[in-house]
Symmetry: C2
Amino acid sequence: MRGQMKFGLNIPTKLVFGAGELKNLSAMTLPGKRALIVISAGTSMKKHGYLDMLVEQLDKAGVAHTTFDKISPNPTHAHVMQGSQVCLDHQCDFVIGLGGGSSIDTAKAIAITAAMGGDFWDYVSGGTGGGKPVERALPIVAIPTTAGTGTEVDLWGVVTNETTHEKMGFGSPHIFPTLAIVDPELMMSVPPRLTAYQGFDAFFHAAEGYISRAHTPISDLYALEAIRLLYKYLPVAVADPANRWARIKVAWASTLAGMVESTSCCTGEHAMEHALSALKPELPHGAGLIALSGHYFKAFKNDSMKRYMKMAEKMRQVKSARPSDFLDALEVMKRACAVDDVRLADWGFTGADAEALADNAIATGSAMLDLDPRFLTREEIIQIYIDTINA
Amino acid sequence: MRGQMKFGLNIPTKLVFGAGELKNLSAMTLPGKRALIVISAGTSMKKHGYLDMLVEQLDKAGVAHTTFDKISPNPTHAHVMQGSQVCLDHQCDFVIGLGGGSSIDTAKAIAITAAMGGDFWDYVSGGTGGGKPVERALPIVAIPTTAGTGTEVDLWGVVTNETTHEKMGFGSPHIFPTLAIVDPELMMSVPPRLTAYQGFDAFFHAAEGYISRAHTPISDLYALEAIRLLYKYLPVAVADPANRWARIKVAWASTLAGMVESTSCCTGEHAMEHALSALKPELPHGAGLIALSGHYFKAFKNDSMKRYMKMAEKMRQVKSARPSDFLDALEVMKRACAVDDVRLADWGFTGADAEALADNAIATGSAMLDLDPRFLTREEIIQIYIDTINA
């Protein structure tokens, strides 16, 4: 692919972006008459009134609805199966994911399982997944309340199998949301620390997608703009959570980074993080990425020199002459977002975990590791984990 | 909309980009079993073997086909109606436009008329068009053999009513092509002069979309990249038509500029050009735009100062401090593409035409004129025509 400029682009999702847009949902074309609403088991969707807002709009549109509110921060195979049953029991003809990545990803998994039948894990490829093709899915409406995953405009989801300790990505063109409503108003209540974790998740979707062997001219365009926006506005949103303009910019950058995931692909950093949070589900995904990023990106600074310099230029808005400028800018950004203190040891990881983590990452994430700018050996992956844990 | 960052994005077209990709068509998912192929009345699709290549691929895929080869450079209402009849007579279930914008735009118009019934002009809005809603269209496959219109990834078409002398745009989300194959190999045979005219059409889609009141964060991204690429590579493709890399870059820039048309909108320059080529159909669209551009863009240099400077920076890759830098860079680019000699007088226009041209532009293109950075009065439009004709 590289050097030949052959690539595809297909993001069929209809995106509606803007503060306050959820309140216009009843005027939009919805893909069914009976919705399953998927939200987390936490209280925030109810406390902040987002669920009420959605329900009011559905009622106004004459769309029936049932709510499944069992989703945990790392959505599980069991929840997917429960949700699919609720979906079938109520004969829902589309699924709405309202919340963070876990709710929307579960909505995607339910959309597959309810339409295809059988066990969700049959449709997961890699690891112990059954690898069956996804031939159809119920239509999905994605309404993110965090700025990070980009799942509202991509064809991916992540679900954890709690029995096998696998945190697995799954993907299909059938799970592009039909409609994505990105309303930064719904993100104003995210506290600073989570804002930073989620924003860095988006940042790494862009940065990984940019250095990925799967990069394309269109993913490059999305990635560099997301990197520029996040470097500039994420520290503002963290320091001043009420800053609406910064929230809007971070939300847009997160959606752009999701479009990177649909036109390029994440690399080994994401595979390595999934192994971390599969082992310790209480580790936030973004925190795991932040911890890994220093040693992960150092590994390729001589393999992707021009791209590191280009990222540094977008961040600092000055010419770069050294790939390490990107590594320096990344550390500056972590300090500016007050997440330079993230240490895996705080979640109980020790150097003794490194081998098992590497083996899990390779078993479940080889598709992403294969897209690294240079192929990392098992020993190198272990060393990145050790260096990260000892940091 | 401006200052609030509210916008939508929805380009459902599946794009396949790359030299040689037409030869992979039989392996792609096609939207039907019986195709109407729409090509121009000229000889180039046959002479260069592009039609044979397409037919071979359709045969391989087991897709039946009928060819309608009547399209003129400015496609007419009469051809749309003839083509629609052929489509119905052969019970075609999708339409393939192979060629320049005229063939693809006619394919779009046929897709509407064959699906909706009645007269095509009923579905045109503005001018003498009937303004009926387009509720459906046959699926469309777009295979451009020129780099300019961007119609392969947009929801617009242009057709001339030869009775009323109206060159009218029409649009509907239903006419986004289902599949767009952008194969720069098919563009290698375009002669230098036409390469320049078509490339400037793409350039102005990007530049107009960038200064348009309808601009959005995503259209800005597409527009600036198209502007950068065309300034750099269009002169190379014009000077050295066999330069494959330049052809590839220009093709991609043209598609990006088409994505600008789907996320922002053209402005008054396009409305004013349509009036020119409605009156003198032998005037190439790109030549009309090139002729108008100097005086048209000069009109807004104090209204869209930051955007003019940003475009100049993308073109010259140095900081800009004056909006007129864009006007200067545009003239440099015209000279580099050897089209600084385009004069409307050569097509027989005289100052006496100016009033009628302005009235036609206002009657048929007010939707685009309304998106100019500043509202132009009828007198100002007349003056731009006079200055252009007298240049």
